[in-house]
Symmetry: C2
Subunit: 734 residues, 2 copies
């Protein structure tokens, strides 16, 4: 099967990677500022790299273990396609590479941003933003490159199926999902490990530095300050890069698998092929048009916050607009059946993403009432700040859920040709919507990765004692980053919900292939009808496995799935709590034992704090991450296919809502504190300020550790279920 | 259909009510102590009664509105059975009556308990416990009385169905569920209103009194102290009474409905009748044997905490043991098919309840590691206390979920005769397990209601300045109450999960009856098979309505259901936050404006604080409660039967886990503070203590407002769906 349009995908990926390399070189060409600035940047860079090295060591062991397991299943028992172990390893490798490259860029860019801010605000913004764009482009470039590569490879290596010609693309696309599992596994470790690292350092630095010693943020006298800046890089940059690489690939791969499944047994291999490559083409168009948007971002000196936001949103909106047009064009050229409706599903996805982003901004920005009221609740102390913040976060789940529900129904309805019984195409539509939502990732991730760079630039400026004016400029850049980060999280969560659904549907598809591989040729449905497996559709498998809501195995799976979300959050919250306690003790010890730190006469032992965060993260990240991998396997062995589906859907529905709650509560606490610091309700140093600082500290693991990891958890559990489907099926027949 | 065994149910209910009256009289015969004690008790009693009057006014309006709506649906459009509006009203009335009687007893008992504690610990325990038993017996007595009464009435009034003789009992049992909806509606208002009242007062009293002014709990100088004591009665007694009345009736009614549904179309009306009355008989046995346990509770002077706990658990264990034997006996006498397995399902339910109770104790009692570690986290301030408490609560969901899942699978498997395809009987088994779990309610509720009585006795002793020795005794009684309250909450949550599942299954049954009533005589399944509605079973309806997990309407419903749990919690949390803020301002105002309060020379304005809590609770309770009623209706109109099922299951799976999280986190925070107050980590007045007080304050709405209301929310949404099924079905055909 060939189609000249397919080659747009690899071409777009090369374009993205080339531009990333260009931006990187351009940034490296800038000056890193004074020797003091260089020294601090070097400190942070070295801490970050040494952490990443440590993390990749642990993760490599996990990958070797899992790859061995897959190899035994594939070569020993024929429970899996033979390409699975290799695909798994590449997914993990490239996800890690995305994080690594993004972080490398970020650690070089922050001092250069601070230095550029000495000249002008615009120059600072350009350097920070283009360095963020490196990460955005690396993620989408590597993602689409890998997908194209694997597609071309498997297309040539997987044999045709004489019984059912439409089966070949199903095998190809579900094998490619293994590659997604590798990416998810890497992403989960990166998010959890990085999240624990950054928040242990942040909470530790804040609790002793700001609250007890009363010194400002990023003050060089605070021993945990370098660890805090390292944390921004390993958590917010490397973690996010791996995370979004996984989201991006996951949504494209799941949609391709659904496209293949929708045509199973029809014999229409040509339309099936078109449905498989459509998500890749939409992604390719998205890359090309994101690049245009990236070049459109610029601002002027003395720009207000509004103008800065406008500079970024002009870029994003421009991209979105052109992507809509481009999608119609490419799907028309491709000649996909029902192409108008499918293109409309892309718009639905984009709109859902925008609505979630706006709602996130409303609930978490101090420009709006909810966060201002949260600040006000500080008048009656920290307890009411916590109560109100939790209330705010829980209420803020309403709009995103309604938006996603509307998106599910609309995209399903459009793609199914307005026929709700056309499950195959309907589910494909949901997948397409998730691809649409992530199609602007090249630019949205640039605005997202920009945040921690600006944050670190501010830290560098503070520590190297640059002037008031420079600090004001980096503060403006940093503040902008907080808002874009919140919006970015909204996109990540929304796309996770849609991708999660697509993966769930792909799971059933993989179960079909698992049965085919084992060789059970005939399905006998409970109503007595017999059907050949290679002709059976989604419906038949759902009836065969009794995937109805009254099956006690489905119900049990659902309870376990809901519990998994909470257990996972609880474990990561506690991990942060423990790691932060150790950091607090260390900082207190240094203040006590190293005389002259607070007067600025002695240098604190930064390295010891970096080490504590690193050890804490390494020790704590393994258990929750392995749990996510083990849960679907055990559930499958105990409760079979219905149990796994229950687990996935229970985990998805509660994990999605829990993730929004945690992200928004955390964001609102952060900004409620900022609002007080801007001089409201008594300003800095007041009782209200102290109360909101408690809220901010509680919010840190909410928004940067547990919340974002939940997205990955939900998808990783689905991916594991898909890869392990062969085992589950064999075991239940056995 | 007659069976002499049936009469055990009304007989047991009369026995319970008679004994309740006897205990009440006995308690009223005791002295209420000094004039000072009497005065304080009178204050609390008057505040509580005036609140309840206020609350019942608001609730009555809601009931009239809903009853009118049901009347229109029943008499105007024939969308419901004609008995529905009346059944709804009685359910609401008796649920309210249970709360009222329990609270009346409690407000008379607390001063008498304090006075008895002047004589001996045993005498204090006996009075408090027997007064708690009044509530336990009133709830089970009224519950079983209503169920028997309605059964006898409908048995005589609902006409036979010539086409399908097994249909009559289905109509009877689902009509009786309406009576459950009345109880749930009343319970939700009582829990939410009472919960907001008590926590606004508690948080307000603690924040200003303990934290700012540094005066002890229950100090008469604190203006909010009377409101706080009133709150214990309206929230913990009246709220809990209405709540458990609803749980008790809900589980029996849902199981009866499932028993009727399991035999639909078989023509075996005799076995169907036996399956319907079996849960009532198990409940009756439970009542009789709870009474034996109640008489077994006694202790000796200078009893340690362990001995006190043993006194209570001896009673409960004795009851449980005899109930197991009694169940085998009665089901054998009844001659129910598969009676051994059904009796075993009762044991499964009891065991699940015990495991959840034990796990709750482990995670929330300061005798164990988790809570002690939580206290220790106070060393690094309030933020880490909050982070660790949330982590602890989330992790604590694991054991209860696994226990419930094991209970679901086991009871289904047993009752289905080890045949998973026998859905009807399997689901009936889940219902039976929930009845088993609640069969000891007579005594477990006694130990539960005992808690607030002992708490108030302590308050009374403190305010009327009784001696050190008396205070020590009431403290011991109070502390015991905290532990039993935690266990009791475990039972309530566990039974809600199982009852929720039973109600879900009953919903499908009601849909069948709805279709029958409208007159669509033939179902056409998607695979082309036609089947007469009166012969169709659960399976057929699930296929007809496509209740599979890949239906986008089911998925949408699930997301909305998950979101509802969070939204509801968020709204109630915020309500507490707002009401508490008003209380804090008022207490501060009184300290400022009424000179001499703190020196004890002037009396604070207690009545104003009572008024603030009352107004706050009334204003805030209406919106979240109405939301619970509206959500299933709107979802049904938008997404039909599959959407409603998704909503219920999504709400159930995430609501259950969220409820455990909130209850346990709240309980652990409370006891972590107590552990510090016992002299650990610096004891009272230390920085660690201040930090744990913040945790305790945050935990208050978790464990006493949002958490327990969630149980009711889940069941109420199911009940509303059941009652509105006729409308949903008619609308989707229209």
């Amino acid at each position: 099967m060939e189609n000249y349009l397919f080659w747009i995908a690899p071409a777009a990926s090369f374009l993205a990677l080339a531009l990333a390399a260009f931006f990187y070189k351009q940034m490296k060409g800038e000056s890193e500022g004074t020797p003091e600035m260089q020294k601090i940047a070097e400190h942070v860079r070295r801490g970050a790299m040494s952490y990443l090295k440590q993390q990749y060591k642990v993760v490599t062991l996990v990958f070797i273990g899992l790859a061995l397991l897959f190899a035994i299943m594939a070569y020993g028992f024929n429970l899996q396609n033979h390409w699975v172990p290799v695909a798994f390893l590449t997914g993990g490798f490239f996800s890690g590479l995305s994080g690594y490259l993004g972080m490398k860029t970020a650690t070089y860019a922050s001092a250069r941003t601070a230095n550029a801010a000495r000249t002008s605000l615009d120059k600072g913004l350009r350097i920070a933003f283009r360095s963020g764009a490196v990460m955005g482009l690396v993620v989408v470039g590597l993602g689409l490159f890998d997908i194209s590569f694997w597609y071309l490879l498997l297309e040539r290596c997987i044999p045709d199926n004489a019984l059912n010609p439409t089966s070949k693309l199903c095998v190809i696309t579900t094998t490619m999902l293994t590659f997604g599992m590798g990416a998810s596994t890497q992403a989960l470790f990166a998010r959890v490990g990085g999240g624990i690292y950054t928040k242990a350092a942040d909470v530790g630095a804040d609790l002793v530095g700001k609250v007890e010693a009363g010194i400002p943020e990023d003050d060089p006298r605070n021993p945990a300050t370098i660890a805090d800046n390292v944390g921004d890089n390993v958590g917010d940059v490397a973690g996010m890069g791996a995370d979004l690489y996984e989201s991006y690939c996951g949504s494209i791969l799941a949609t391709a698998a659904l496209g293949a499944a929708a045509f199973i047994g029809t014999g229409d291999t040509e339309m099936q092929f078109k449905a498989v490559i459509a998500p890749m083409l939409i992604a390719a168009i998205g890359i090309i048009l994101s690049i245009i948007g990236i070049f459109a971002v610029r601002t002027r000196e003395n720009a207000t916050m509004k103008e800065l936001l406008k500079a970024l949103s002009t870029g994003t909106n421009l991209s979105s607009f052109f992507i809509i047009i481009g999608t119609f064009l490419i799907l028309w050229l491709l000649g996909l059946d029902n192409w108008v409706n499918i293109s409309l599903a892309v718009i639905v996805g984009l709109l859902v993403g925008i609505i979630i982003g706006q709602s996130t901004e409303y609930y978490t920005s101090q420009s709006y009432k909810p966060t201002r009221k949260l600040s006000e609740s500080g008048k009656t102390g920290p307890a009411t700040v916590i109560i109100s913040g939790i209330g705010l976060g829980m209420i803020s789940t309403t709009i995103p859920v309604i938006a996603v529900v509307a998106g599910i129904i609309l995209s399903y309805w459009l793609a199914s040709g307005f026929d709700f019984t056309n499950i195959g195409m309907g589910l494909y539509g949901i997948g397409i919507a998730s691809v649409g939502m992530l199609s602007t990732l090249g630019i949205t991730l640039a605005t997202d990765a920009y945040g921690p760079i600006a944050d670190n630039a501010g830290g560098n400026a503070e520590m190297s004692k640059l002037g008031e004016e420079v600090r004001r400029r980096t503060d403006a850049l940093d503040s902008l980053g907080n808002t874009t980060a919140a919006t970015g999280k909204g996109f990540a969560i929304g796309s996770a919900a849609l991708t999660g659904l697509s993966l769930l549907a792909s799971y059933i598809e993989e179960v079909r292939i698992g049965l085919e591989r084992i060789g059970t040729a005939i399905l006998e449905l409970p109503n007595g009808i017999q059907i050949a497996i290679h002709e059976a559709g989604l419906d038949d498998f759902m009836i065969y496995y009794d995937v109805t809501l009254m099956n006690p195995k489905v119900l049990s799976g659902m309870f376990i799935g809901s519990m998994m979300s909470f257990l996972f959050c609880g474990l990561t919250m506690n991990a942060v709590g423990r790691a932060a306690s150790r950091m607090v003790e260390e900082v207190r010890r240094q203040f006590r034992e190293i005389k002259g730190i607070l007067s600025g006469n002695a240098e604190p032992d930064y390295a010891r704090c970096v080490q504590i965060s690193t050890q804490g993260a390494q020790r704590e990240m393994v258990f929750p991450s392995l749990l996510a991998i083990i849960a679907p396997i055990v559930t499958g062995l105990l409760f079979g296919v219905p149990g796994v589906i229950g687990l996935l859907i229970g985990g998805l529905s509660s994990g999605f809502v829990l993730a929004i709650f945690m992200a928004n509560a955390g964001g609102a606490w952060d900004n409620a504190k900022k609002y007080v610091e801007e001089g409201n309700f008594g300003g800095k140093g007041s009782e209200v300020h102290r109360a909101t600082v408690v809220g901010d500290t509680v919010g840190d693991p909410f928004k940067d550790t547990s919340g974002p990891s939940l997205n990955i958890l939900v998808k990783l559990m689905s991916m594991v279920a898909i890869v392990m489907a062969g085992l589950t099926v064999a075991w239940s027949l056995f």
